[in-house]
């Protein structure tokens, strides 16, 4: 059996491992247009911050590909696949053949198409190459004026990395709050206050209108006419799935490549997983692209097992996020804003600490936490598996610790024990 995996990140690598668990003899090939061995995309901002080197963020130890007998074709882009002839064509002309194909092609940053977007100095923040390039740029030119466009997780991580290096950054956010996908207004308010205290300038509710400069970026213009000097613009306004190969092959594509619980696409023998796949989301009750690392791992594993001949449904996935900014922890799962018919219960809402649950009938459908986030995994499970969670309501607030003040040194008798 010949397995071809396009994509060398969470979904692709996990799939290869899952295949190898079952099929010790089959040929496994991983192709990626990135030149590096598999690394953790989550941590590229740590590299940007100077807190990690590329070798610290590898997904698997060196020697992984040999150990699992995986042929890695790195730094080469697949330009087309031919499902009828079971072939994939590389940019440089080579042809790869397969019996089972996994599309784990991930997603790319969405760069807004405003005037001047062809200028040098405008970059997304998706790959290790992006992080290394920006880090070099900042080292070469201390005090470089930087704008960060977008209010999502990546933007905030980038901003934190920049100020951690002693730089300054202006954050431009179209929504009236940061992290609008992940947090509600109150939770975001806590983060925003912390960022303001750290000296970050945030422009909320104001989108980018144009880039300005000659060949190279010199300034950005906002919708309200304000001009901000910037030599570097880091854009993180979400990602869109890399669907070109799937579209070219005539697969059923919606927001992402549509897959069933076995990660199968509309064409037999072709599977999809990770940020490119659109799977059923129990919270939204429809197909959804949940571009999250854990989902990519779950889907990659299911895809691999099914490609190797088992029949295993993927764990139901839903949107879950956990992150920390400037010492504050925040996490959310499912719906962060109640829909009609949902009930919202705010358990705690005070300085630096917030805990909210969203219910629909007896089910939990969403949660937002700032503070001790350890229950988020349990909430994720209750939501994704659609377990009744009505009991949580009556106990709200009981298991919420005071995060800052409750720190008692124990009595001497206890130390001796």
């Amino acid at each position: 059996m010949r397995y071809l995996i396009i994509g060398n990140s969470a979904a692709g690598v996990t799939a290869a491992e899952a295949i190898r668990k079952i099929d010790t003899k089959g040929e496994i090939t991983i192709v990626s247009d990135e030149p590096y061995p598999a690394y953790s995309r989550i941590f590229i901002t740590n590299v940007l911050a100077g807190k990690a080197r590329p070798e610290n963020i590898l997904m698997r130890p060196p020697g992984f590909y040999e150990e699992f007998q995986i042929k890695a074709v790195l730094g080469q882009k697949v330009v087309q696949i031919d499902p009828a002839n079971h072939e994939a064509y590389l940019e440089k002309g080579a042809v790869l053949t397969f019996d089972r194909l996994l599309l784990a092609t991930g997603a790319s940053p969405q760069l807004p198409s405003v005037p001047g977007s062809g200028l040098r100095g405008i970059t997304g923040m998706r790959t290790l190459a992006d992080a290394l390039e920006v880090a070099k740029r900042i080292e070469d030119t201390p005090g470089l004026p930087v704008v960060v466009v977008g209010g999502g997780l990546v933007s905030l991580k980038v901003t934190e990395a920049l100020i951690g290096r002693g730089g300054e950054a202006t954050l431009i956010v179209k929504s009236p709050q940061v992290l609008s996908q992940m947090l509600d207004e109150r939770a975001a308010g806590i983060i925003q206050r912390r960022m303001a205290d750290a000296g970050v300038t945030i422009r909320l509710g104001c989108d980018l209108r144009a880039y300005e400069g000659e060949g190279e970026l010199e300034a950005v213009y906002l919708e309200d006419g304000q001009e901000i000097a910037a030599r570097l613009a880091i854009v993180a306004k979400g990602v869109r799935p890399n669907l070109e190969l799937a579209q070219g092959a005539g697969l059923h594509v919606n927001q992402g490549i549509v897959v069933n619980p076995y990660q199968e696409t509309s064409r037999e023998g072709i599977y999809a997983a990770g940020d490119v796949a659109e799977a059923y989301d129990p919270v939204r009750q429809q197909g959804s692209v949940n571009a999250m690392w854990p989902n990519a791992v779950f889907q990659g594993e299911a895809a691999g097992l099914n490609m190797a001949g088992q029949r295993v449904a993927c764990r139901p996935g839903t949107r879950v996020n956990a992150a920390s900014f400037l010492g504050l922890q925040a996490a959310s799962v499912g719906r962060v804003r109640p829909l009609d018919g949902d009930e919202e219960e705010v358990v705690v809402n005070r300085e630096g600490y917030y805990h909210k649950l969203v219910f629909r009938e007896e089910f939990l459908v969403g949660a937002v936490i700032v503070g001790d986030i350890r229950s988020i995994g349990h909430y994720r499970w209750l939501i994704a598996e659609q377990k009744p969670a009505h009991f949580l309501r009556r106990e709200l607030g009981r298991k919420i610790y005071n995060f800052s003040a409750y720190r008692l040194q124990v009595a001497p008798w206890c130390r001796e024990a």
Binding site: F391, E395, K399, Y406
Partner: protein, 162 residues
């Protein structure tokens, strides 16, 4: 080895939290405890949530840098603090709330069975926490975990809906 939790015997005294955090931090500091007792006072039900050292550990599977590894001796899943980079994917994925995050160190932490002699077991007078050893318990453990913790919550949720 794994910690067998029997919510039926738990009185909700929370000494396990106190001693766990004291061992780790030399302070009674429940947010830094690896075990956390969920209290449902009206039902007089107390459920100690902690790592169950799963056979198929989601936390280890999702860890982007493979920082969560099995200790060959205790069979506990341990987080390598030098490798962990604080992404919290394990925290977000564990259905039992078995992994917590330490904001001061920027690292995830979880129960490592105290190297084979857990503090919480020693202080649990009612015997709700027990250390079970040996490979033959694996299947029994799986059943126990499902029945005791998740199933319990699930069924109970249905009942209280009335």
């Amino acid at each position: 080895m794994y910690l067998d939790v029997n919510p039926e015997l738990c009185t909700g005294c929370s000494l396990c939290e106190a001693f766990c955090s004291f061992r780790r931090e030399k302070a009674i500091w429940p947010t830094k405890s690896c075990i956390s007792v969920l209290k449902y006072e009206r039902e007089a039900l107390y459920i100690p949530f902690t790592c169950q050292q799963c056979e198929k550990a989601i936390c280890a599977e999702v860890c982007p840098v493979q920082a969560i590894k099995r200790n060959a001796h205790t069979r506990a899943w341990e987080i390598d603090a030098n490798k962990c980079m604080g992404c919290k994917m394990c925290v977000a994925s564990c259905p039992l709330g078995g992994v917590a995050f330490d904001p001061h160190r920027g690292r995830a932490f979880k129960c490592d069975l105290c190297g084979g002699d857990p503090e919480c077991v020693k202080v649990c007078a009612p015997g709700a926490l027990k250390l079970v050893k040996g490979p033959e318990v694996v299947l029994a453990k799986r059943r126990r975990v499902t029945q005791n913790m998740l199933h319990l919550l699930q069924n109970w949720g249905v009942e209280t809906h009335v």
